[in-house]
């Protein structure tokens, strides 16, 4: 039962009129999700919903060892192998996946470096037979011992920072306090598994898939197949969640699907089931941090010595930049007269770790925030007070060399969070070890790519007039649930001065949209949104007040494109690893309230309060959705999401045994925005996507420590560890 466009108008029109504003017409209004009707009616098409008559079903044969060599591959005689398309390393024009580096093979060429590493691809038109066939291939290996612990293998990337005379500060300090903090891996559990459909036509490749970054996929396909730009079209289908899990990983999958399609000459579907997705896809990098701080008896911080170690897995993927974002956030929203940081990412024989919401920052912020609370306890101070005495302010210099030129206003965020949560009363009332706890975290998250990333990206955004008198936003930034498809039209409508209903969002496909960069790094709304604002402004100028419908009728499509221009004075030195790492930061305070069952030590996060400065809110409902969803992921990471690793493999790669919170576990989440606009962000917005992931972990672990009268310094913190 197809639904007419008219029907959409009929439903949307009255709902849209809910929003009326003062100065701005669309920005700041909870405009309904543009693709919302398709989603609530089941009409949205995800990659697995695409009909492909006559297509083949692909499947990946993966290594069952973590490290070694392939000796022999045998095919059992019970399968009609001649009907199958079989692809191995020899079929890949250039057997490398291009990410930051290109160390990872598309398919194993004799050497295995992690469990579930792809070895062979097979395809057949009968999906049931494909399942039987994949189990009818045996691989014999020569095993070699693997490395599975951080610090034991080769260094993947290292950074060092020294700022001020930290040695002197430690030598002269009234109080020196140190601790070790660990965080576990985390699985994204986007509810839609990874998948791609590939087909070739006249030497041109089209892939449809679930992804965050169409141009990453495009780049990787171009590299592995040695193609020209215009030989590839990457089309994003409605994408059922990403959270970083569909940033780097889809490139591998797209190449695999394209290889099978090329060899078979047919359309090939390569769509993972949940177990394969969980076992083989990337996870959040596990981390170990050692934090040593020097301060006065009154808790005035003097110096920090931070050692930050993360597990990169078997290949480089995005680990260097994960490490980098971790480093910049390691110092928290505090002022440090002197600082030393030593950060290393190590290779192991785990499947490569990859992007996950927060991208290294949740790991280092867990360490500093758990440390701050432990330090406060050590000093006999309220953890809120210790933080208050050390917040960073406008004009202060961060250890990475960035002079803060905005007002973090952490005091105001803190005051409001304490007030909303009734922190003081509860802290006084709930006795340590009494089964209830309340604690906090204060933190920030940088908007956009770290360091000179945005300069290298040089993102471009296009906007075009449409026949019906409206405009179409063309970007490679994807809608993955966070609201791109709605927020960008809001920004464009505002800048163009036309109605929101007239602005559409072009579903990204690389043949059509310019490269506005990847959908990552809390950059979409603020950084790319600013380009949308500028492009729309440019188009408005060109139209010079003309009626768009008439203009289109006379001149055809008017198209304007703009490119990223670095904010003046924003300089980052890659060699020295110094400068302004981000154009702006979002700031936040979390207060967590927990209850622990005395019989089972099962924790429950009752309430999580967040006061938030993410700049101007473009769409309140969507912004709340980002905060609440990110906080829930943070709660899961802290309390129940335990990746059980055996030889680097996620042993619990089923949703039965890797558990994320259900509605029955849901915490009461209270979010209050206290915006301070950022001049270079779209209409003053800053990054919102990753920030909520950073704070719940340390606030919850500290609250659990209070509830249980304990001193845990890691997450996830499981009942098995807490029960006395």
């Amino acid at each position: 039962m197809p639904m007419s466009g008219e029907f959409k108008e009929k439903i949307l029109a009255p709902l849209m009129s809910i929003s009326t504003g003062k100065d701005l017409k669309f920005v700041g209004k909870s405009i309904l999700r543009k693709e919302g009707i398709d989603k609530v009616t089941g009409r949205a098409r995800y990659v697995d919903d695409v009909k492909t008559p006559g297509a083949l079903y692909g499947k990946t044969l993966r290594s069952s060892i973590a490290c070694g060599r392939i000796k022999k591959i045998s095919f059992a005689p019970n399968i009609p192998w001649d009907q199958f398309t079989i692809v191995d390393a020899r079929d890949v024009p250039y057997n490398r996946v291009l990410q930051i580096e290109s160390d990872q093979p598309v398919l194993c060429d004799g050497v295995v470096l992690h469990r579930e590493e792809p070895i062979l691809l097979i395809a057949h038109e009968d999906p049931g037979l494909v399942e039987t066939a994949i189990r009818s291939i045996t691989v014999e290996y020569e095993r070699e011992p693997g490395i599975f612990n951080i610090g034991e293998g080769r260094i993947l990337k290292q950074y060092d920072i020294e700022e001020g005379d930290w040695k002197k500060e430690f030598a002269a300090a009234e109080v020196v306090f140190e601790g070790e903090y660990k965080t576990g891996a985390q699985e994204h559990v986007y509810i839609e598994t990874n998948g791609f459909i590939a087909c070739w036509e006249d030497e041109c490749l089209t892939v449809h898939g679930s992804m965050q970054c169409p141009y990453y996929v495009h780049k990787a396909l171009k590299y592995a197949f040695k193609l020209q730009d215009d030989q590839i079209n990457v089309v994003q289908m409605t994408t059922g969640g990403g959270f970083g899990g569909k940033e780097d990983f889809p490139s591998v999958l797209a190449i695999h699907a394209a290889l099978l399609a090329k060899k078979s000459g047919r359309t090939v579907r390569l769509i993972y089931d949940r177990a394969e997705d969980m076992a083989s896809s990337t996870k959040r990098h596990p981390s170990i941090s050692k934090v040593r701080t020097a301060c006065t008896k009154d808790g005035i911080l003097r110096a920090i010595d931070f050692s930050f170690h993360i597990d990169g897995g078997a290949y480089i993927t995005l680990s260097p930049v994960v490490l980098s974002r971790g480093i910049v956030h390691a110092f928290g929203p505090y002022k440090w007269p002197a600082a030393k940081l030593h950060a290393q990412c190590f290779f192991t024989n785990s499947p490569p770790y990859g992007a996950f919401r927060g991208f290294g920052a949740p790991q280092s912020l867990f360490a500093i925030e758990a440390h701050m609370t432990a330090l406060a306890n050590h000093l006999g101070m309220d953890p809120a007070e210790l933080r208050r005495r050390n917040f960073i302010h406008r004009g202060d210099t961060m250890p990475t060399g960035q002079v803060v030129d905005e007002d973090p206003n952490m005091e105001a965020l803190l005051d409001r969070a304490l007030e909303l949560s009734d922190y003081k009363t509860k802290r006084a009332r709930w006795k340590r070890g009494g089964g209830k706890g309340i604690s906090l975290s204060t933190f920030m998250h940088g908007t956009g790519f770290t360091g000179s990333g945005e300069v290298y990206l040089a993102s471009r955004v296009g906007i075009a007039t449409t026949k019906d008198g409206g405009a179409e936003v063309r970007v490679s930034s994807t809608e993955i649930g966070q609201g791109t498809e709605t927020v960008f039209p809001q920004i464009a409508a505002e800048a163009l001065g036309i109605d929101i209903s007239k602005v559409s969002f072009r579903r990204p496909e690389t043949k059509v949209v310019p490269n506005s960069g990847p959908t990552v790094a809390s950059r979409t709304c603020s950084v790319v949104g600013k380009l949308v604002e500028r492009a729309a402004g440019k188009l408005k100028q060109r139209l010079a007040g003309a009626d768009i419908r008439q203009h289109y009728a006379q001149h055809g499509e008017a198209y304007e494109e703009v490119e990223y221009v670095p904010r003046p004075g924003l300089v980052w030195d890659d060699d020295k690893y110094k400068g302004s790492a981000y154009g702006a930061y979002s700031w936040c305070v979390n207060v967590a309230e927990v209850t622990v069952d005395p019989v089972t030590a099962m924790p429950r996060v009752d309430t999580l309060t967040a006061t938030v400065d993410v700049g101007t809110i473009i769409n309140p409902v969507l912004a709340h959705g980002q905060m609440e969803g990110g906080i829930a992921q943070g709660i899961g990471w802290a309390t129940c999401e335990n990746v059980v690793l055996k030889e680097g493999l996620m042993e619990n790669h089923h949703l039965t045994n890797y558990v994320i919170p259900t509605s029955a576990d849901a915490a009461r989440i209270v979010v209050e925005f206290m915006p301070s606009p950022y001049s270079e962000g779209a209409f003053g917005s800053k990054g919102v996507g990753e920030l909520p992931m950073d704070g719940p972990g340390p606030a919850i672990v500290s609250a659990l420590n209070d509830a249980m009268e304990a001193k845990f310094t890691h997450l996830p913190l499981l009942p098995e560890e807490m029960l006395k």
């Binding site: 037979l129 399942e131 429950r604 039965t656």
Partner: protein, 282 residues
């Protein structure tokens, strides 16, 4: 779905006799009530069985929860957790069963899964089995050779092993009239989260003039009645003494969901919690 369903044989009997004939004649037949366990295995190709018997055609015969005149309760082989959970007589007389059905999976699972399937499946983590053990449930096993009644506590012989012969089906759970006051009954499921969880430890316990019942899940290769601990409590053992005995009746293990040590500590805490509850309701 990792299983190639085209390789499976399925029969769907239309009558009880036909079902029992199939049980007798077709070797390796796995019966399916709601399918909530078997389809999970098939999804992961974790089960080698190729021949299945879908019992859905017998709903008119076997989907019932029946309060009998003699005070017993019959739960048919195809009665779902929801049928049990929302049945007025079960709610009134067998609160542990209501509670354990409520925490089995989510609503969707409760609408398809069956307590009889829970028993036949033989998982030591079964959520309803400890409740049924407390209530002295008996099972009707039927074959073309006839029908027999087996005590649930004697049904399991080892990890996923039981006394059924290959031609039998469990047709009914029979619960004797309830012996226990509601305030003297206690149920605990310790899962990995609040809902939709596999149990790390399950407990059902009750006391009446006739004695104490303690039943556990996930602490041994099968769900168990802690008969020695029950006897000791009956003879006046205090909590610590009871725990000493219980420790020897359980054999928890480390697995992907939890640890033996945690299970042991939780078992102790739940035992104490239960005995405390009893002490406070004297």
């Amino acid at each position: 779905m990792k299983t190639n369903v085209a390789e499976l044989q399925v029969c769907s009997p239309r009558s009880i006799d036909e079902a029992l004939q199939q049980r007798r004649d077709i070797p390796g037949l796995t019966p399916i009530a709601g399918g909530t366990e078997v389809l999970v295995w098939l999804n992961d190709a974790k089960f080698a069985g190729k021949t299945y018997q879908s019992l859905h055609g017998l709903a008119k015969d076997w989907r019932y929860v029946r309060a009998n005149k003699d005070g017993t309760l019959g739960i048919g082989a195809l009665a779902t957790y929801s049928d049990v959970r929302f049945h007025p007589v079960v709610k009134e007389r067998y609160p542990l069963l209501v509670e354990s059905a409520r925490v089995t999976g989510a609503l969707q699972i409760q609408n398809r899964g069956t307590p009889v399937g829970n028993i036949a499946n033989g998982s030591p983590a079964a959520d309803t089995v400890p409740s049924l053990l407390v209530y002295d449930a008996k099972l009707k096993l039927k074959s073309l050779r006839g029908e027999r009644l087996v005590d649930l506590k004697d049904f399991f012989t080892g990890y996923r092993r039981n006394v059924m012969t290959s031609d039998e089906l469990i047709t009914e759970i029979v619960l004797p009239p309830p012996l226990f006051m509601p305030a003297q009954q206690h149920y605990r499921k310790v899962g990995t989260r609040e809902a939709q969880a596999i149990s790390k430890v399950v407990f059902a316990g009750a006391r009446s003039a006739a004695g104490v019942r303690l039943a556990w899940g996930s602490l041994a290769p099968t769900t168990i009645r802690a008969l020695k601990t029950e006897a000791a409590l009956q003879n006046g053992a205090d909590a610590n003494a009871a725990w000493e005995i219980l420790q020897r009746e359980i054999a928890p293990i480390d697995d992907i969901r939890s640890t033996a040590e945690y299970r042991r500590k939780v078992a102790r805490n739940i035992l104490f919690e239960f005995l405390n509850k009893l002490a406070n309701t004297l």
